[in-house]
Symmetry: C3
Subunit: 130 residues, 3 copies
């Protein structure tokens, strides 16, 4: 954990550097202090076909879903979300200069009883720190 | 809100017009009266690799996930779902003529306390109305 | 049901046979005895852009989400999950030989009251059995 996965309309490809956005979200997730470096996984999903709002061809969207293990206090999740959201708005701010952009984000929880994981990155990073 | 996001097996590409399906779902979502024009975001995700039912190469699927803010009454969600489902079945009805198609849909909720949004489309649409 | 949908970082494409992985997950899902053949839908989503852990270019991930109808006993879901997870680890085991791979899986539930489905495959399979 955490998983940060965003969908976006393909018409935004020319104006968003997705490598840079993934790294910006990665940094913001770490800055919250809530997550371990080895567990951060950001990714994007391009949507070639879409229908947004009043269907103008310029209309575009980004929607980020953050999945975290259940059990953290609500206020910690809320302030972590606020921080990641601020980074998202900052990165995509110029899109709001046109009246065609919709940005959204949600945090959902994964039930630890129904979560499985194996991570070969954690041990390497832990070894580097010692 | 709402978000309507569907996955489909790539073998359906030759028989589904995804632009038209996105627009049909968009219309159906608006017809429910439950959602604002500026917030409707429909999109599709093509799955190049898949394994469906008894693995015949003709087997295909569409699965639509509708994400809405929590808090609406269950019966309003249910009848909105029924309406969107009817549009989905109507659009894809010819696929059921072959015994190789599986269609499904779910509504899930987004916790308003863990939802963030900024939408530059709403003000434009509201201004047009006045 | 069930839906098995996995996301993966695009750098794993040269080392994972996704058709074979989809079939392996399909087999594992059936072996649990919890699901009907006609309802199993496995698929994958490639993520071209991503940012994983300490951002080494070799870092990669696979995350599998299993969606099942709510109502099954927790222990049945848990042991079904254990079985599918074992198949996933077995298939991807060689990735753990490098310290760059993170694998994860979750089971989430779909509320039967907000689930719609129509399946033309079930009747065909049932007819074959009689």
């Amino acid at each position: 954990m955490p998983h940060l996965s965003y969908e976006y309309s393909a018409n935004l490809d020319p104006v968003i550097d997705h490598n840079a956005l993934c790294v910006a979200l990665h940094s913001a997730a770490l800055e919250t202090g809530l997550f371990e470096l080895g567990g951060v996984r950001v990714r994007s999903h391009k949507c070639k076909f879409y229908a947004v709002a009043d269907l103008l061809p310029q209309n575009g969207f980004v929607h980020l879903t953050i999945s975290v293990g259940a059990g953290r206090p609500a206020d910690a999740k809320k302030s972590a979300g606020d921080h990641i959201w601020a980074a998202l708005v900052d990165f995509l701010g110029s899109q709001f200069e046109t009246p065609h952009f919709a940005l959204s984000m949600e945090i959902r929880e994964i039930d630890p009883d129904f979560s499985w994981k194996q991570n070969a990155i954690h041990p390497r990073i832990h070894a580097q720190k010692t």
